[in-house]
Symmetry: D2
């Protein structure tokens, strides 16, 4: 487990729920994005949470996300979900999410998301507050965002 998630600044752990499987008997593809989201929100909490997105100020918006499915998950299993910022730009950052199966001791999925700063008052893209950028740099020391 440690090898697969070394360098991830936020890691959460949870059980696979039976109801997350679909008619093929595997965890449904949409559920992986819920796994990513759940870990991503823990990360965002560490940046000050959604306080800056309650209708005012500059908050995060998910602009893109992908997932590469590497191993089908089944119930019962326990998973670790890691997330870290891998690239940082002025008004956006890129996050890597990773799901690891405890049963198989293997990576089940990797996904990359792009989060963009959005000014809810002006209703347009905007740079993240300096404090948020500083916290991310401290947590993950990401490289520069490549367009």
């Amino acid at each position: 487990m440690k090898d697969h998630l070394s360098g991830f600044s936020v890691i959460i752990e949870q059980a696979v729920a039976w109801g997350e499987m679909d008619a093929m008997g595997h965890v449904n593809n949409t559920v992986y994005f819920r796994y990513f989201e759940t870990a991503r929100l823990v990360y965002i909490e560490q940046l000050g949470g959604f306080g800056w997105t309650a209708g005012h100020g500059v908050g995060p918006i998910l602009a893109k996300i992908d997932c590469r499915f590497r191993l089908p998950l089944t119930y019962p299993d326990t998973i670790s979900i890691g997330v870290k910022v891998i690239e940082m730009g002025s008004d956006r950052f890129k996050m890597l999410h990773r799901v690891v199966s405890h049963t198989h001791q293997k990576i089940a999925a990797d996904g990359v998301g792009v989060i963009v700063g959005f000014d809810y008052d002006k209703q347009q893209k905007a740079p993240f507050p300096a404090e948020v950028r500083r916290k991310i740099m401290t947590l993950d020391r990401p490289g520069e965002f490549v367009y």
Copy 2:
């Protein structure tokens, strides 16, 4: 279909999604409550929608709900979902939700929910506005709520 949903003031129709099935190959039990909710919201829109629940005034809160599963649903199928108020009290009403399978021409599920008026300013139960009660009486002529 008409027989199974005669007397329902709101009826919506939608396709069963493949992803709504679980590992048993049937639509998962939690999805029936989503079906109910979707139709219930159309009903509530007809009462003036969630305008009266945006943090102010008296809005609806789901206090109880049940479901009797009568027929397992599978993909592909199309369903009709009916909803009507069957009992009306001063600060609550009881709704009957019904899901009918087009493939089987049978009732797949029945569910009863209790919706309570909640004053978001005072943070306590409260009677529904007279206008809302009048609209419900016009739509469904429900009997008196039996505690």
Copy 3:
């Protein structure tokens, strides 16, 4: 917590996920039934799991379920979900599910489900195997199922 779930033979614990909240900012009603299901499956595993439901033999089918919402859940929170059999019949049993909020130290929801034995070979209701009934009696000593 202990008081609210004393006497429950199966108790699981999990974090509330941000994505389980709906547009009202509370955990959506359908999610409570997923909570119930997740704990119920752990219970069923203890009875021998779904081995007896893989297309052969007599397995459990959810015939009815309800939920009484007593406290709105929000993210972040951790919940304990308890489940126990409260009534036992020849071909069915009744389960009580309970969700307790750690933040509020209160019961968030109670739900009762009726599980019926189904013979997958004969495609009809059927008594549960004696071994399953014995395990349930040992776990919970339920009363007699009241029709």
Copy 4:
């Protein structure tokens, strides 16, 4: 609408459900992948469905998928979901999924998925049956899959 989905061989239409929105008041990101899946399954039905995936023969497995969110969806709205194969390889094809909002008459999201042929008997990747490939070529005339 027609402009946004011209050239899509499969297009389905459905209402946005209230419960698909999350606490931000927009359709949750995981739901877009459910939208994609629902349309994708209609496409796969046209290729002969999951008959070839019931534990035998060569069936489709989702290896990768992404989504670019272009417009936040809210309830109420109706969406059209289009899907087409845009690249075809021997043992895989690439699909473009597109969600269009009727209210806004704009593209809400685009997503690309890679579907790989999997031999369930041999438990390894495998070329799709010639008949499946022929049907896809007839429906969409995709270019060659670029690795």
